[in-house]
Symmetry: C2
Subunit: 243 residues, 2 copies
């Protein structure tokens, strides 16, 4: 059996790799990934063969990696964040039955909910949801229903892909859905741009203010619960210890 | 300013540490943590001073770590998983205003949702929620409301702390709430015990079967969405790529 590692890199900088992920990459002869993610690690693993495709080439990358493993080449397929959260683990495992000699190992990484939360303080100290605002593969009605459910459950929520060139107003739409569902406009919220990369920035604001914030595709957005507070320049959702 | 790192160790074995976390621990003179977590890393960092308290000593550990940093000792406070998800980041930041000379840095780790998902396959390939079933600090009505909201939103859900000595039937109660809220009894579910540690085990079953599964405090439980499927011995929630 020939190994195919599906590796989460974490937020970007190689210092966020786990030892487990580093070892998977070191063992691999071939590393497949989106061009920008290959660029994040190419200097750290200079002796590898790389297979790069642009953002929309996910299926091509998955198949290339599976074919390589099937033919005896130890391979890694890389993703930013966690390979299991909107990452390549799911499409690879859906294609896997056609490549029975590929021995697939999923290698978790730190997803933007965790790495972004660390920048803001502790917004995810209690129960929370992760929702992608991209409707490329999900009908917007499903996204809307899930946003409403976070209000019903008083969950903290992390919004991935809050905007793109074609979806400039999606964060505004999401904020409006949350407000219409009864979320308090004073709810403490936060955003982080370019987590763990050069030019990282962040901010804390109310849900009302967030509605007018211009997110881009490198932004992760955090919506608090009814108990989330701002302490100094940190966003904190109490875990509930009576201290 | 004296550094206090609040460090997530990931699931257990030191190979799941990020380089960032390892550097924080290496820089620290004092490492504070729950006795069992100290045991996980003591061999890797033999030259450190350790401060250990049993499970219920969270506030004592936080204060000890903040006092040490305030007095000039570079300190790490460790948590399993991610320090920001039901971890020490939140209580430390709530106490922080009393220790103005402690320069607190939150260091994310891989939470059980990510590490457990990697064992099962890709159950979290799309939107999901994390809910703790512990009602030590949360009224059970809030937990119930959140479980119901995951059904309304057709979220995948990860259940932390599904049982303990005093809460033997909480996973059963949770399954019953999900079923009563209309979740399909055939929904693909999974569980992982002792993620990333000796004796790791896992299984995939239906929601109906999960109601009769005996979880313990070392188990993490995964509830699928309406699209989650079993492929071979893996649990996979499609991300939506048309492949």
């Amino acid at each position: 059996m020939n190994k195919l590692f599906v590796v989460g890199l974490g937020p970007g900088n190689p210092e966020f790799l786990t030892e487990h992920a580093r070892q998977a990459l070191e063992q691999s002869q071939l590393i497949c990934g989106y061009t920008k993610y290959i660029a994040l690690i190419a200097d750290t693993f200079p002796d590898k063969e790389f297979f790069q495709t642009p953002m929309t080439g996910e299926t091509e990358r998955c198949k290339k990696a599976l074919e390589a493993a099937q033919s005896g080449i130890t391979t890694s397929l890389i993703c930013s964040g966690d390979s299991g959260v909107y990452g390549m683990a799911s499409p690879v495992l859906e294609l896997a039955p056609d490549y029975p000699d590929a021995d697939i190992e999923i290698v978790a990484g730190i997803t933007a909910a965790s790495s972004g939360a660390a920048v803001l303080g502790a917004p995810l100290g209690h129960d929370f949801c992760i929702i992608s605002l991209s409707d490329l593969l999900t009908p917007f009605e499903v996204i809307e229903k899930r946003l409403q459910a976070t209000v019903a459950g008083d969950f903290a929520a992390v919004l991935y892909n809050p905007a793109s060139h074609k979806r400039k107003d999606y964060l505004q739409r999401a904020c409006r859905i949350l407000l219409d569902a009864g979320k308090n406009p004073d709810t403490v919220c936060g955003w982080v741009r370019q987590i763990g990369r050069d030019g990282e920035s962040f901010g804390i604001c109310s849900l009302q203010e967030l509605e007018h914030f211009e997110a881009d595709m490198f932004t992760t957005v955090f919506i608090g619960t009814s108990t989330t507070k701002q302490i100094g320049d940190r966003m904190v959702t109490p875990r509930g210890y009576r201290i």
